[in-house]
């Protein structure tokens, strides 16, 4: 079965799974419901970064708008370039980090006729972890522009450097992530809860958090089970173009009945394809790894070489991340277990030894033949760790191609040229 998604700046992506359309439909309805709640009904809500404890808001029934999701929503409306220009006209240099600032740009533009939803109303709070030099400035200015408050969270130093963190994170999270770092995050989360209770009148219930954490474990368990099957199956049953939405859309709603059920449905469809021997490519010859955020403006890029060269992107971080970074034995301490999930969510993806340790292990687990790394020229955080990881992969026998491009700015992206780069690389490295 095949369906197609249109993307005006890139190429269509093929859909092999029925659940992909269901996920996209759910997310579309969710967007409409979210708009009704925060814009039409004026419910209290929060703007949050992806690596903050969403679970607290879920437990309290407070809607959240995730900055990365909102950026993707703006991009999907073909408004990215307009807002990049708004920032430039406001006097911000054009090389300022774009990934996290599209929402700020939309607010600064102050143009309800153009903005999605007419622009965001005043949130109760904005929340971000200070994982880079940019984010506190972006969120601070965004909070000022919206007349709201910025609640920053520390991204503390991490002394316990275990390259094989992923092997122990599920049950030994206190050792892996450092007890004192977890304690700091718990303290901050309690401050955040107090702020939310005071401002919204809604109450936090730790028993509800415990239940939610168990449901999230169930959801991530399905995703991880499917990820393991994809790693061992030949041919690869599901390209990363479909792994991403079926992992990330439920991830925004983690622990909800829909998210758990969708993860199970996705797992089941993956297993059916494995059992039937269905593959992304007619003849799979090369298994590729993708390191970096998704190229949201050209989803068809990932499938472009499947038929031509038998080259299939089998791995991106989103799906296998569900296992080691989300599943937590609660151990009667849901706040601490949650803190261990969020206190290093960014670090393990962008800093050595965690990034290179995990990704070389994943390359081996999935039988990866070659790797393509996204290197956004104007984003230090997204660049971080890529060269050391590339060197580690090469040392492990995995050829690596690094491409200078941005995940949300299509300005320097040309589909045919990028596909050609990958094709030439595979030939040059003797893989095709």
């Amino acid at each position: 079965m095949s369906a197609a998604t249109t993307n005006q700046s890139g190429q269509r992506s093929r859909k092999d799974l029925a659940c992909t359309a269901a996920a996209n439909a759910y997310q579309k309805q969710f967007g409409a419901d979210l708009k009704r709640r925060v814009v039409d009904d004026g419910e209290p809500f929060a703007i949050v970064q992806a690596d903050t404890p969403h679970e607290i808001f879920h437990v309290m029934g407070i809607p959240i708008i995730t900055n990365q999701w909102w950026s993707a929503y703006i991009s999907a409306k073909q408004l990215s370039n307009h807002y990049f220009e708004v920032m430039a006209q406001a006097g911000y240099p054009k090389n300022s980090c774009k990934y996290c600032s599209l929402g700020l740009a939309c607010t600064l533009a102050n143009d309800p006729k153009t903005a999605p939803w007419g622009g965001l109303p005043k949130p109760t709070v904005l929340v971000a972890r200070m994982t880079c030099d940019c984010i506190q400035h972006v969120f601070g200015q965004w909070a000022d522009a919206l007349g709201s408050e910025f609640f920053p969270m520390e991204a503390p130093a991490w002394e316990h450097k275990d390259p094989r963190w992923f092997a122990h994170s599920k049950d030994q999270w206190e050792q892996v992530y450092d007890a004192d770092r977890i304690a700091l995050a718990v303290s901050e989360m309690r401050d955040l809860i107090a702020l939310l209770e005071n401002r919204t009148g809604r109450k936090f219930d730790e028993a509800k958090l415990h239940y939610l954490m168990e449901r999230i474990n169930e959801q991530e368990g399905y995703i991880w089970e499917a990820a393991q099957a994809i790693g061992t199956a030949r041919p690869c049953p599901v390209s990363i173009a479909e792994q991403m939405p079926n992992t990330m859309i439920p991830q925004w709603h983690r622990g909800s009945d829909w998210a758990v059920n969708h993860a199970k449905r996705f797992r089941d469809e993956v297993m059916e394809r494995v059992a039937s021997g269905a593959g992304c490519a007619t003849q799979e010859k090369i298994r590729l790894m993708w390191i970096g955020a998704g190229v949201w403006h050209d989803p068809g890029f990932y499938q472009a070489l499947e038929e031509r060269m038998g080259a299939v992107f089998v791995w991106s971080m989103y799906m296998p991340f569900a296992g080691p970074q989300y599943i937590r034995e609660v151990q009667g301490r849901p706040m601490e277990a949650l803190a261990s999930r969020v206190c290093s969510m960014n670090e393990v993806l962008h800093l050595p030894p965690w990034m290179n340790g995990w990704m070389t292990s994943e390359a081996e687990r999935c039988g990866v033949d070659a790797c393509v790394v996204l290197l956004p020229p104007e984003n230090r955080l997204s660049q971080s760790g890529t060269k050391i990881t590339a060197e580690a992969l090469e040392k492990a026998g995995v050829p690596v191609l690094m491409i200078d491009a941005d995940m949300v700015d299509a300005g320097n992206w040309d589909h045919d040229r990028m596909v050609g780069l990958v094709a030439d690389f595979l030939v040059q490295r003797g893989l095709a």
Binding site: G91, M130, C132, E188, S384, I388
Partner: protein, 293 residues
């Protein structure tokens, strides 16, 4: 001997060790293949020199180097160096991290205090030694005097920290006096007095947490810049930001507006080369000549 890299660090604690070799230095006017190999393009330029020196063995005489978490390039570099040492790609001194937490919140101050105690233990500095060093450090702070006002008009250079005095010299050649902080100035800044009463680690933690001098500080940068312009009697200003700047770029519109609201002529130069080999000298000269005309 030990050294350090980054702003917002506890100089009093370093002095208390009796082994303080001062900050790392940099030389960016050379080929740096080790940096090319391991560092991505958005790292602050000084990190490239440090990695090259580390790989070349130029820092082997040091026992340790302390990095600050109050600067993203510095904290990120710490992890890179640890990994490169673990992998055997480089040798050299032990990288240490001082986990400075900048949020104005009790838990962040406590985190910083704990980090200072841990570093003190690692460097064999107890409370008594630190108290003595704080007393000496406060005396040094009070003895520091501002430069006397000269007769030349003053151009204020702000934005990214300067590599050295090369842009000062450009302004001076045009008959101006330039005031602008170099990266070395920022790293050497001891900050305000440390409370000498009570526990010295707690006092030092409070001082570090509330300081604004770093990429993670919470402060109104436009107000601070306007005040500085008034303090030095600036007649013109240069807002100079390098390509790798991830902090000041977000305040550029406000900084520019604050200076222009004071009636100052302002030259804005963004995405610039830290080595200043991109023609900025000619642009500054033309700007200052225009202001003077």
């Amino acid at each position: 001997m030990l050294s350090y890299a980054g702003p917002n660090l506890p100089h009093d604690l370093f002095d208390a060790t009796g082994r303080n070799a001062g900050p790392l230095t940099w030389n960016i006017d050379r080929a740096m293949p080790a940096a090319d190999r391991w560092l991505e393009s958005k790292f602050a330029p000084w990190t490239r020199s440090v990695v090259q020196d580390w790989a070349d063995g130029a820092l082997d005489h040091l026992e340790a180097v302390v990095f600050t978490r109050a600067d993203d390039s510095a904290q990120r570099l710490y992890y890179y160096l640890c990994e490169l040492r673990r992998a055997g790609s480089i040798k050299g001194p032990e990288p240490l991290m001082l986990d400075i937490a900048k949020i104005a919140r009790a838990s962040s101050v406590a985190r910083t205090e704990a980090a200072l105690r841990q570093l003190g233990e690692r460097l064999d500095v107890d409370a008594a030694a630190l108290s003595a060093a704080i007393a000496q450090g406060n005396a040094t702070r009070r003895a520091t005097t501002s430069a006397e006002a000269g007769t030349k008009p003053v151009v204020l250079i702000a934005g990214s920290p300067l590599p050295d005095a090369r842009l000062h010299r450009v302004a001076e050649a045009e008959g101006w006096s330039a005031i602008g902080r170099t990266l070395a100035d920022e790293w050497a800044d001891r900050g305000p007095d440390v409370d000498a009463a009570g526990d010295p680690f707690a006092a030092l933690a409070r001082q570090l947490n509330t300081r604004h001098l770093d990429t993670r500080g919470f402060t109104n940068r436009a107000e601070a810049l306007a005040q500085q312009a008034r303090d030095v009697g600036a007649k013109a200003a240069l807002l100079w930001l390098i390509e790798e700047d991830d902090t000041t770029v977000w305040h550029l519109p406000a900084l520019r507006a604050a200076l222009e609201d004071m009636g100052l002529p302002v030259l804005v130069a963004t995405r610039r080369d830290w080595s200043c080999r991109d023609g900025i000298d000619l642009e500054i000269a033309a700007f200052l000549q225009g202001v003077a005309a």
